[in-house]
């Protein structure tokens, strides 16, 4: 490598490190302040390190005041029920629609694909009335129904995937005398596993991070979810940044950890989800 090549390489690292600093600066501030006592917070600079990283009072208080256990429980309930139906309905639908020839087939796929261009955020005025008329506002199942019904990314992902499973598999199973339901259950669904994992990851992240739907549909304290718990906590403690920092950390850590372990799936899922 020549001198110019080395200079270029060095420049790249400098730029990347600058970017890394910009990315890490806000979280760094939160981390150092979450471990400070109230006195330390007011006397020292916001950027200084805390006396000890074993001071957990802020976390304990945030945990109680922001009803973190309740919020995580509600969020988990919503995610699990949504995923169950998303996967069941999505995979079954895609099996039926892509394995059999029938009239209206093209139109049905088209209807689903066309619906992807209707942004959900614009239809909330009407969807709110629909959910209310079903008696599902102030009910965890309201958001669940919206996540199942209004978001159709799972159908898109399954449709892409099922195309690559050879139809000969279905045919030889039929010759063996398997029923179509059995073929779906024992052959197609297991082979769709990578798509299912992608859907689980993408949906978990998007529901965990969603604020709009829970804010609109679950205003009561007993239905607080992760996003709204932080907002309530902030409202009650504004200015006490050492407390808020602890609450922010508690909320950010689960997806960050998930990301570290599942990065490969997340990258491929995000790319395929965006290029729909």
């Amino acid at each position: 490598m020549g001198v110019i090549g080395k200079l270029q390489q060095g420049l790249k690292y400098i730029i990347l490190c600058l970017a890394a600093l910009v990315i890490l600066f806000p979280p760094y501030i939160i981390v150092v302040n979450a471990f400070k006592t109230k006195e330390k917070f007011f006397e020292a600079s916001t950027m200084s390190l805390p006396d000890s990283f074993f001071y957990f009072d802020n976390f304990v208080q945030a945990f109680k005041q922001a009803s973190i256990p309740l919020a995580f429980g509600n969020t988990a309930t919503i995610i699990i029920v949504t995923l169950f139906f998303n996967i069941l309905l999505g995979s079954a639908f895609c099996y039926a629609i892509s394995r059999f020839q029938f009239r209206l087939q093209g139109i049905l796929v088209g209807l689903f694909m066309f619906a992807t261009i209707i942004p959900q955020i614009t239809t909330q005025v009407v969807n709110y009335k629909t959910i209310a008329s079903l008696g599902l506002t102030n009910n965890l199942m309201g958001p669940v129904l919206l996540y199942i019904g209004a978001d159709i990314i799972q159908i898109y992902i399954y449709l892409q995937f099922i195309k690559n499973i050879p139809y000969e598999l279905d045919e030889s199973a039929m010759i063996e005398g398997a029923s179509l339901v059995r073929i779906f259950r024992s052959i197609i669904f297991p082979l769709l596993a990578p798509a299912t994992y992608t859907i689980i990851i993408l949906k978990t992240i998007s529901i965990y991070n969603d604020f709009f739907v829970p804010y609109l549909y679950l205003p009561r304290a007993q239905h607080v979810v992760v996003s709204t718990s932080l907002m309530r906590f902030f409202g009650n403690n504004s200015g006490d940044w050492q407390l808020i920092s602890a609450a922010i950390l508690i909320i950010m850590i689960p997806t960050a950890v998930m990301y570290l372990f599942l990065q490969r799936y997340i990258f491929s899922g995000v790319t395929s989800g965006a290029v729909k």
Binding site: I97, F102, V181, L230, Y259
Partner: protein, 296 residues
């Protein structure tokens, strides 16, 4: 038991069982609301009472003539401008990370990290960074010697509050665009670059003559995501500034929610939703048209 039936009958049973519910959901939560919005947009309705009064295009006239409503798109414009910068940065970093570089996976991991963090948490994270008195940005500026600048009220100045907010969006979504660009860059066959090197092409020539034409569609896709994203901004200003100071950071979606759920003016809110829906549909239709034209 099912296997006793002929495959034809099974097929019919499965089609009906597997398709009915998703189809029902699709109509209830996608097509019905779109049509109902259109109908309500011609009505005067408070959301509760039984009588809805047909008032023709009055709601639309209100949307387009009242600067308090349509003028709000000016605030969304800031997100569009910053979104363009975000895309340029994303492409730049994607190109850098697509070269041979030690630790490039680590950098990719780090630059994408903000995207998967909780949006409300990110909003408050920056609430702290941009805070006037306790904020870490002003503390940083002060310690670097920019006394004047370190007094700035980043979220309290109506002239640039939207750009401050949009910069949070840049921090959060740049890595997302970058990963999409990176995926596209990796699919360009490397022998193209090798051949160009043999012919004596420099880095810029390779970028403009090989890279750009090959990822043209992905740039387009990212730009459209930027436009629709800018039109639909809600969480960030809602959480961080509540639309303040004095409504300077209100976005169009915030206006819709306020009109419907606080002022109970469902007719007007529906008309606003239809306008937003049309904007997004137009943008996406242009995108799909351009993409499908490229396929032929």
């Amino acid at each position: 038991m099912l296997s006793k039936l002929s495959f034809q009958t099974q097929k019919k049973v499965i089609l009906i069982c597997f398709i009915t519910i998703p189809l029902l959901l699709l109509f209830t939560f996608a097509y019905y609301p779109a049509l109902e919005l259109l109908r309500l947009s011609f009505m005067k309705w408070n959301g509760v009472s039984a009588n809805k009064e047909w008032i023709g295009f009055a709601n639309y006239v209100e949307v387009f003539s009242n600067p308090d409503i349509f003028g709000v798109f000016k605030h969304n414009f800031a997100y569009f401008v910053v979104g363009i910068i975000q895309n340029m940065l994303a492409l730049f970093f994607a190109v850098i990370l697509n070269t041979k570089l030690r630790g490039r996976n680590g950098f990719r991991l780090l630059l994408f990290l903000p995207y998967i963090l909780n949006g409300v948490a990110v909003a408050y994270l920056f609430g702290y960074v941009y805070d006037t008195t306790n904020g870490s940005l002003n503390a940083l500026l002060g310690s670097l010697g920019f006394e004047q600048l370190s007094q700035t009220s980043w979220l309290g100045n109506k002239d640039f509050v939207n750009y401050t907010l949009a910069s949070v969006g840049l921090w959060r979504f740049m890595g997302f665009n970058m990963v999409i660009y990176l995926g596209a860059l990796q699919s360009i066959p490397s022998d193209l670059y090798e051949a160009a090197s043999i012919d004596g092409a420099n880095a810029w020539q390779k970028f403009s003559k090989i890279t750009l034409p090959n990822i043209y569609k992905i740039i387009e896709l990212n730009l459209f995501l930027t436009v629709t994203g800018a039109l639909e901004v809600f969480d960030l200003p809602f959480v961080l500034t509540k639309g303040g100071p004095a409504g300077a950071s209100e976005t169009f979606v915030m206006k819709i929610i306020e009109t419907a759920f606080q002022f109970n003016n469902y007719g007007l809110a529906s008309a606003m939703s239809v306008v937003l829906l049309l904007f997004v549909v137009i943008v996406l239709s242009i995108q799909r048209y351009l993409l499908s034209r490229g396929d032929d």
